[in-house]
């Protein structure tokens, strides 16, 4: 069954955030959905760009108060 995983990276900073996102997303199974929370726009961009480059589907990127939520589907 497809999983929906929350990955909260708001307390992490560069260079750890992208490494962590990559590790967590790579551990998911095909079709799983990840919701990644990050604290700033540049981390948000790096993670969504990387995720797309890897062939995952970025479903939504939204700003929620002082953080960002990236919703993606693992390829």
């Amino acid at each position: 069954m497809e999983e929906n995983k929350l990955i909260d990276l708001r307390k992490l900073v560069c260079p750890f955030s992208l490494i962590a996102a990559r590790k967590e997303v790579n551990d998911l199974a095909r079709g799983d959905v990840a919701e990644i929370l990050v604290a700033d726009s540049s981390t948000c961009e790096s993670i969504s760009t990387w995720a797309e480059d890897e062939g995952n589907k970025v479903i939504e990127v939204k700003k929620e108060g002082d953080y960002f939520r990236i919703i993606l589907k693992k390829k």
């Binding site: 900073v13 560069c14 260079p15 750890f16 551990d27 726009s41 480059d53 002082d66």
Partner: protein, 528 residues
């Protein structure tokens, strides 16, 4: 002993404050932990301690690699340091080095297993990556020839070194866990303001007041998607008061919770809210004294990137060496270090804010040979345009953009070197890959901001920016393959239509409307 050497010594005397092996080991082991076990394995406190260490994740061809940004003090490096940077890039970074517009170096392609070694070697040669990125007090920009050039009002390099050292000594006040966002300062007494003080949070511009040397202030500058030119705070500050002044600004900034959310945290927004007068009163209250008035703002005398050969105060010469869009190789840096050792009188190398290099202390009798050798090193010494073009890093190293600005910059240089010749054209072109504007396109004569849209690289073109003004947008969605021709067109129009031979490109642009300029850009070859 020349200034550069004493500055390097200053750094190596007390290495620990500029970064330590312990910090590097912790950083690398934390990276490995997260790589292996994910986010939860890294305690938040541990991650926080390593903020702003000048290390970037760069996913290249699907592989996780790292970039390391090396800070300098005032852009100065000894030949030994330059050689080491070159060697590091050859060993760990595919022989590639970026020269940055905050007067540092960036090495890429570093594998996780080499990261610790690279960072340790950088420390060992008296340089550091600590404070190279993130919410830190960034490298202080300054004129690369402030100590040797004849036209400087006075030498600011000792002050740059002092303030830089102070940042590290007071990391609890200025460091990444203490300040809300990055803090950028420029200190200069260059009549051309070549380090662009007005795009910094605080710019200190050298002036004299009743025969005393000191600084007047510009405050609240910054580019990005909300570009601001710093405002003149009409005060006069003597050298010994600079650090208390900067501390007061930082304390005021930190004390207001309004400037904690990241998107409002830059000093420029605080200056918008307070205005310079109120801010001055707040600073005076912190300092518990009045600041001296200084009404005159020392405008830049024009653009000067210090390229080519110039006489020094001591009778020697300095030579500005263009680096096309800041792209260098380790090999070229090593060759340059050798030339400096061989043909200068204890000279060194400086990184300029335009991503070029400057060699100092060349005796007159070695000039000709040095120039000949410079051509042989492969630096574009004879290019008219290479020294005038600045570009951000963008793709593939920066994941905020998918456009290849540096690649386009090289194409523009090659094209303009063929079609627009003549030394009288002093036009700066800046490229940037996303609205964060690391390439400072807003203040360029011709600025380009790229984006990728449905697989196509498109650029927004701005025109008429300067060290104290933001350019106007004259073109949207110009395809990358057309950019060089558009720039060629408008430059040809400028050459043909300027009212007198000394009319600057800025003056030319001011005579025309946006539509007319856009027309020149698209059809310039027909106009002329």
């Amino acid at each position: 002993m020349g200034f550069c050497h004493s500055m390097v010594l200053c750094m190596s005397q007390n290495k620990e404050i500029f970064g330590s092996e312990k910090e590097i080991d912790e950083l690398v082991s934390s990276v490995k932990t997260v790589l292996r076990e994910g986010a939860k394995a890294l305690p938040v406190e541990q991650a926080r301690k390593m903020k702003g260490y000048g290390v970037f994740t760069e996913i290249i061809e699907g592989k996780l690699t790292f970039g390391a940004r090396i800070r300098t003090v005032g852009g100065r490096v000894t030949p030994d340091q330059l050689r080491e940077i070159g060697q590091l890039s050859r060993r760990y970074g595919r022989n590639y080095v970026d020269i940055t517009n905050r007067q540092g170096f960036q090495i890429h392609f570093i594998g996780v297993d080499d990261l610790g070694e690279v960072l340790r070697e950088i420390l060992e040669i008296g340089l550091t990556t600590k404070g190279g990125c993130g919410d830190t007090p960034r490298a202080i920009t300054t004129c690369p020839v402030s100590d040797v050039d004849k036209e400087q009002l006075f030498d600011v390099t000792p002050l740059v070194e002092k303030v830089n050292r102070h940042y590290y000594e007071k990391w609890d006040v200025f460091g990444p866990s203490a300040i809300p966002r990055k803090f950028k300062v420029s200190i200069t007494a260059c009549p051309y303001l070549c380090s662009y003080p007005q795009i910094n949070c605080v710019g200190l511009i050298g002036v004299t007041n009743d025969g005393r040397e000191g600084f007047t202030v510009t405050i609240g500058g910054g580019l990005s998607s909300a570009p601001h030119i710093g405002k003149h705070m009409p005060v006069f500050i003597e050298e010994e008061d600079v650090i208390p002044f900067l501390e007061a600004v930082v304390e005021i900034w930190k004390s207001n919770p309004k400037y904690r959310p990241r998107h409002r945290a830059r000093i420029k927004f605080m200056v918008d809210d307070y205005g310079t007068e109120k801010l001055r009163r707040l600073i005076e209250a912190r300092l518990e004294r009045k600041l001296e008035d200084y009404q005159h703002f020392p405008e830049s005398r024009g653009f000067n990137n210090h390229m080519g050969v110039h006489g020094q105060r001591n009778g020697d010469y300095y030579i500005g060496v263009p680096v096309a869009a800041g792209k260098a190789t380790g090999e070229k840096l090593i060759s340059l270090a050798e030339l400096v050792e061989k043909y200068t009188d204890g000279g060194d190398v400086r990184v300029s804010p335009q991503q070029n290099l400057v060699i100092t202390n060349v005796p007159g009798e070695n000039l000709e040979r040095m120039e000949k050798k410079l051509v042989e090193t492969g630096f574009p010494y004879n290019s008219k345009w290479a020294g005038n073009i600045v570009s951000d890093i963008a793709s593939p190293f920066c994941s905020s953009s998918r456009v290849k600005t540096k690649h386009l910059a090289e194409k523009i240089i090659n094209y303009l070197d063929q079609v627009i010749r003549g030394n009288e054209i002093n036009v700066r072109i800046h490229l940037t890959g996303c609205p964060r504007d690391c390439g400072q396109h807003w203040i360029a004569d011709i600025g380009l901001q790229g984006k990728l849209s449905s697989g196509r690289e498109l650029y927004e073109v701005t025109i008429g920016g300067g060290s104290s003004r933001i350019g106007r947008i004259i073109g949207k969605d110009v395809p990358a393959e057309k950019v060089q021709y558009y720039i060629g067109n408008i430059l040809k129009a400028y050459l043909k239509l300027r009212s007198y031979p000394d009319e600057t490109f800025l003056e030319f642009c001011d005579k025309y409307s946006i539509n007319q300029l856009a027309e020149f850009m698209e059809t310039g070859f027909r106009v002329v």
